[in-house]
């Protein structure tokens, strides 16, 4: 009986109990998690090189709440379609070199580029080409470890069936938002910033290409307004200037930004008016922004945008 009270054996038994408890809980966790849509913790593991490093001018917390909707994969394409511009596959970034994009920075930037292209394809109901883009996005999203938010299977099914295009659009945009939110909350706002920059760059490229082939005052004005958006974007990018990749990107985008220097935007003030349309509350803004942009300036913006965008997507 004496051996039952041996302190060493008691410690061993206590340790076995603890290990057993840990195993049971771990197994339980694994069993329950493996059935869900989200992936296991291993897949959330982030390599050190893609977590924000260095001192940020603006804290990571503030970066998480910074201006959203800087550029949407949908809005620029909708504008282009509303002007009755024909669809052109030439405006899309090629997807054949996705596997060559090996750094998380390149992958995040191209995620934005392809998200904008997917928006363009969806707006024009070009579901046949959608598969290439969702495949490219899935590859890149997995590369930056946000693939769990991209519902590739459902998107592929919707694109192949050419039905339920609203769902295709919703899931595409929602997946992109989820990836963006996750990156911000995971202290990887640098990658979120690159995604947003990619969307913006491709949106501007689309608008300028349409302006080049099919000039329209409305599109010229939207391009001129990018001066305001670019100021916001550069503010965010400047936050990461200490990083070599971002420094180079800022340098490239500054070439476009400089082109906007003599674009003038004036605001006519007015009070918003609330009206009821078909039983719905509609607010009509009475502040109006007006853009002055010369043809020469527009042409140089078109030229520089093409040059920089093509350079960035070839990197």
């Amino acid at each position: 009986m004496l051996h039952l009270f041996n302190p060493q054996q008691q410690i061993q038994r206590a340790m076995i109990k603890r290990i057993f408890a840990l195993l049971v809980v771990s197994l339980l966790l694994f069993a329950c998690k493996s059935g869900g849509e989200r992936k296991t913790e291993d897949e959330f593991e982030v390599p050190d090189d893609i977590v924000n490093e260095g001192v940020l001018e603006i804290s990571e917390e503030v970066m998480q709440n910074i201006v959203q909707n800087i550029s949407s994969p949908v809005e620029m394409a909708s504008l282009v379609k509303s002007l009755n511009a024909d669809f052109s596959g030439k405006y899309l970034a090629p997807t054949d070199k996705v596997d060559d994009l090996t750094t998380s920075y390149q992958q995040a930037f191209h995620l934005g580029i392809y998200a904008a292209d997917l928006g363009y394809l969806n707006i024009y109901n070009k579901t046949n080409s959608v598969i290439d883009y969702i495949t490219a996005i899935k590859t890149l999203a997995d590369g930056v470890r946000v693939g769990q938010f991209f519902d590739f299977t459902t998107l592929k099914r919707l694109a192949q069936s050419n039905q339920n295009l609203d769902s295709l659009m919703y899931i595409s945009v929602h997946s992109f938002n989820q990836m963006d939110k996750y990156l911000r909350s995971d202290n990887r706002s640098n990658l979120s910033t690159l995604m947003v920059t990619g969307v913006w760059m491709e949106g501007l490229y689309l608008a300028t290409q349409v302006a080049k082939s099919d000039p329209h005052p409305e599109i010229a004005e939207r391009i001129g307004e990018q001066k305001i958006i670019m100021d916001q974007l550069m503010l965010i990018l400047e936050n990461y200037r200490s990083d070599k990749y971002f420094r180079k990107l800022i340098e490239d985008l500054t070439i476009i930004k400089d082109e906007f220097d003599d674009v003038t935007i004036t605001i006519k003030k007015g009070e918003p008016v609330a009206i009821e349309e078909d039983g719905m509350l509609v607010i009509v803004q009475k502040d109006v922004s007006m853009v002055e942009i010369s043809d020469d300036r527009l042409n140089s913006i078109i030229e520089k945008t093409e040059q920089i965008r093509n350079k960035l997507i070839s990197n």
């Binding site: 966790l29 919703y170 918003p272 922004s289």
Partner: protein, 146 residues
């Protein structure tokens, strides 16, 4: 025993956060669908604690770029188990543009449309009536180009 309890507690927190995340995804989908025949752009998920009695109700702020000649829809959906009822307000700088709740008349709207005439940064504030605690989802949708 203490350690087992710790593991169980941590597991429960883990599962609870998963369930909340899943609920949010569903609420976003439902709210986006209830906005009507429009294109979803962004969602704003909000969970706020109760405000201090007599003080200003707590609110969550989201900043975004809106573009000229575009009609947007701002929708608000309060989570089913939320104590407080959510209100969404849109500001341009410090000027109120629109709200889902008109305090002077007590009228409520599940959404309002905003015909934007000026490209720039706007702010959405989401709060709960009487500063009660609550959960909600706000949705920004694209209606059409004007």
């Amino acid at each position: 025993m203490k350690n087992i309890l710790k593991y169980i507690f941590l597991s429960l927190i883990f599962f609870a956060s998963e369930i909340i995340a899943q609920d949010n995804v569903e609420l976003v989908a439902q709210c986006a669908a209830s906005a009507g025949n429009v294109t979803y752009l962004k969602d704003f998920i909000v969970k706020l604690d109760a405000g201090i009695p007599g003080g200003k109700p707590p609110s969550a702020k989201f900043s975004m770029v809106l573009s000229k000649n575009t009609q947007y829809r701002f929708s608000i959906c309060t989570a089913p188990d939320s104590e407080g009822e959510a209100i969404l307000q849109l500001f341009d700088m410090n000027v109120l543009q629109g709200s889902t709740y008109i305090s002077s008349t007590g009228k409520e709207f599940p959404f309002f449309d905003f015909k934007c005439q000026k490209t720039g940064v706007y702010h959405v504030f989401i709060s709960f009536k009487e500063g009660k605690p609550g959960e909600s989802v706000g949705i920004l949708s694209f209606v059409k180009k004007l």
